[in-house]
Amino acid sequence: MSIKQTIRRFILENFLFTDDESILEDGDSFLAAGMIDSTGVLEVVFFIEETFGIKVKDDEMLPDNLDSVDCLVAFIQRKQAIVAE
């Protein structure tokens, strides 16, 4: 499964409680849509650290990195590229 698919499934099942792919656009803001609250953000970080073997630093806890499927995918790919180097 691709990074995007993995992330999408995680968000759909745990925050939207569905497997209906049509209700989540990759660019949707989690915060603006009320999908994810402050506890939820921790869960997202926890999940991507465990699943993709990366470490999210405090100064990376930014909406630009975490607030949509697209942001998360780009962020994870950047982090994995650094680890690979």
């Binding site: 099942e13 745990n14 939207l16 409680f17 569905t18 497997d19 915060l31 603006a32 009320g34 609250d37 402050s38 506890t39 939820g40 953000v41 921790l42 869960e43 926890f46 405090d58 100064d59 806890m61 930014l62 909406p63 630009d64 975490l66 607030d67």
Partner: protein, 658 residues
């Protein structure tokens, strides 16, 4: 306290039969285990039933009770705390009394004052009064909703009772769960009065009375929470108003210690119950026993604060210890008593607590509910104040940071946290004058649980619960101070519809224990409502005047402690170990699909999350408990309708798999 039941004819063709009235009483036996009685009108126009828990005038207070010439009959649940003073006045006016009970005061007060007799009562009550001369039934409930009274129309008859379960034996078929009520519960945490969970079954709203005369039912409001409209608040120095508040609270407490049985008190460790226990100690010489809940989950446990106060005041104290598994195992019985879906398990430990009171030989407890509503204690009021302040300058970066003072765990550094603050707490910031502004964060978060509704349930919803509520607010609402508006919404959505019933009366009465609420004495509320808001919340210091009034009588740690809301374990109670079998059964695909309220697939994902147990959010807790309690209501009152009616009132009535 007691149970009230009855049937009234809505047409001249209808005759009420005594056996029908008697069929209602077994379901109310827990409310009044000491005695029961029925009055049947000679013309069959009405039957009044009563089950009694004897507290005042143990020998003379049998009900239904009549006046001197037996033309006025009353069945009454509750207490009239000023009955001694009222009796004096009525004696002087020429009324003759044959008992010393507070019930008889109601009968004579009605003769003296007509329907306005209720304005003379200081107490908590649900009253059914039959005037034989005028062939007229009056149903009336106390001002804030301490005691319940439900009714439904069934053909040519009006059925009424203290609990919904007493109406069931006379219904031709099981009631239906109302989609609109579920919408309200999954928004406000409770159905909006007069609605109940069930279609066609209503409650008499707090402060309302209902008159049935010539086949017509007329409802009117005799009391409501009211606030100054033109800044005409009470005038006086802080010291004078502090003194007045103290005197009122002392008197409200004093008259609630009137009983022919010993009186205990609940002690949570918070300011309100501590203030109450201190007041009792100062104004009564009787030995006082206090009762509290301890929790296995240390984050919910307040035992240390309770002990501090017990030591300070020298009271005899007992504690019931609440394990997670008790909450899970006893939840079905809680829902049976509450007769509604609930989003919190918190009522269950309250039922354990009243069980401890009863087992200790007590029938009456004083308790601190109402102080937060009347005197301004809730975090939600602070949050609304901060959001109001922020709305004046919505671009401000630092105004929302005040929320940190309120929720210390809230992360406010970093762009992620700032965006969260803005998105969540910033709701409605563009229009801080809208009627529900203070409660939007709570209602919005709760309403997200509606994602679990099945497509059929969602399709059955006709109107938006919040819009409907704001349309029904009193005309003066918009002229009240924002702080007072928040108080009103809290009193109308949560106090009467959840705290005093699902978590209050029903959990007390399940063990035949009567609660008494000095902070809800209407004199206290009316005084508090006229206090300037700055005396309720000074900056972000809640219940400012109450703290001043009690400063000399309580330890500083109690006065300065940050308020801890009463909570019980929700998801962890069910899933920290293997859940009881009924949970898997009722939340399984088959029952979810058959009952039809929730999407089996979505609940399945929620269950996976609950079993995994990590990062359970506030919303997840509410959703799971809400879904489970709705399923339980369907199970108890619809699927097992006939069986429940047969089982009701039998001592062993317990949850059974069906």
């Amino acid at each position: 306290m007691c149970g009230v039941a009855g049937i009234a004819a809505l047409s001249t063709r209808t005759r009420i039969s005594e056996p029908d009235v008697r069929r209602m009483l077994p379901a109310l036996r827990h409310r009044g285990p000491d005695d029961s009685g029925v009055y049947l009108d000679p013309h069959g126009r009405i039957g009044l039933g009563h089950t009694r828990l004897s507290i005042i005038d143990l020998a003379g207070g049998v009900q239904p009770m009549a006046n001197e010439d037996r033309t006025i009959w009353v069945s009454f649940n509750g207490e009239i705390f000023n009955y001694i003073e009222l009796r004096e006045i009525l004696l002087k006016a020429g009324h003759r009394f044959s008992t010393h009970s507070d019930t008889e005061v109601i009968v004579h007060a009605y003769e003296q004052y007509g329907d306005d007799f209720v304005q003379h009562l200081n107490g908590q009550f649900a009253i059914a009064l039959w005037d034989t001369n005028r062939q007229r039934l009056l149903l009336v409930r106390d001002r804030v909703g301490i005691l319940p009274l439900f009714y439904t129309r069934q053909g040519e008859r009006l059925l009424f009772a203290s609990e919904i379960k007493a109406l069931l034996p006379l219904l031709p078929e099981a009631p239906r769960i109302s989609p609109a009520a579920l919408d309200q519960i999954f928004t406000f945490w409770a159905p909006r009065s007069p609605n109940t969970l069930f279609e066609g079954i209503f409650e008499i709203s707090p402060g309302h009375r209902l008159v049935l005369e010539n086949g017509q039912v007329l409802e009117s409001v005799y009391w409501d929470w009211r606030f100054p409209e033109q800044g005409d608040y009470l005038i006086g120095s802080d010291a004078e108003l502090t003194e007045q508040l103290y005197e009122l609270l002392a008197d409200a407490t004093r008259i609630r210690l009137r009983a022919d049985v010993p009186v205990g008190a609940y002690l949570s460790g918070g300011l309100d119950s501590s203030a109450l226990v201190a007041l009792i100690r100062r104004h009564s010489t009787a030995p006082l026993k206090t009762f509290s809940i301890g929790f296995e989950d240390k984050s919910l446990d307040e035992s240390a604060y309770q002990q501090q106060l017990v030591d300070h005041l020298g009271v005899e104290h007992r504690r019931v210890f609440c394990h997670n598994r008790d909450v899970a195992e006893d939840f079905p019985a809680t829902v049976f008593h509450a007769e509604t879906a609930i989003l919190r398990t918190a009522p269950t430990p309250m039922r354990h607590l009243s069980g401890l009171v009863r087992a200790s030989g007590y029938k009456v407890v004083l308790t601190g509910e109402g102080a937060d509503e009347a005197l301004g204690g809730y975090d939600l009021f602070k949050e609304a104040k901060i959001r109001q302040f922020w709305a004046r300058h919505p671009k401000s970066e630092w105004r929302p940071l005040l929320l940190k003072a309120l929720y210390p765990y809230l992360e406010t550094t970093g762009a992620q946290a700032k965006t969260y603050l803005r998105n969540f707490y910033g709701i409605g910031l563009d229009n801080p004058h809208q009627p529900g502004f203070s409660h939007l964060t709570r209602w919005f978060t709760t309403a997200q649980c509606k994602v679990f509704f099945s497509p059929e349930l969602t399709a059955a919803l006709r109107e938006d619960a919040v819009t409907r509520l704001t349309e029904q607010l009193p005309p003066a609402f918009g002229r009240w101070h924002p702080f007072n508006r928040a108080q009103y919404l809290e009193a109308k959505t949560l106090l009467g519809s959840y705290l005093l019933c699902s978590q209050g009366d029903r959990m007390l009465m399940a063990n035949s224990v009567e609660g008494r609420f000095p902070f809800l004495d209407h004199r206290v509320i009316e005084f508090a409502n006229r206090l300037p808001p700055r005396l309720k919340m000074r900056a972000l210091n809640e219940k400012f005047l109450l703290k001043r009034a009690m400063a000399a009588h309580l330890p500083r740690q109690i006065l300065e402690r940050h308020k801890q809301p009463y909570r019980a374990p929700d998801i962890p109670a069910f899933f920290s170990a293997r859940p009881p079998a009924y949970v898997d059964d009722l939340l399984g695909e088959e029952k979810l699909k058959r009952y039809g309220y929730f999407s089996a697939k979505k609940v399945g994902f929620l269950l996976n999350k609950a079993r995994r147990g990590s990062s359970i959010t506030y919303k997840d807790n509410m959703a799971l408990v809400g879904v489970l309690s709705t399923q339980l209501c369907h199970h108890h009152f619809i699927e097992r309708f006939s069986q429940t009616i047969c089982d009701i009132g039998t001592p062993s009535h317990q949850f059974a798999q069906g």
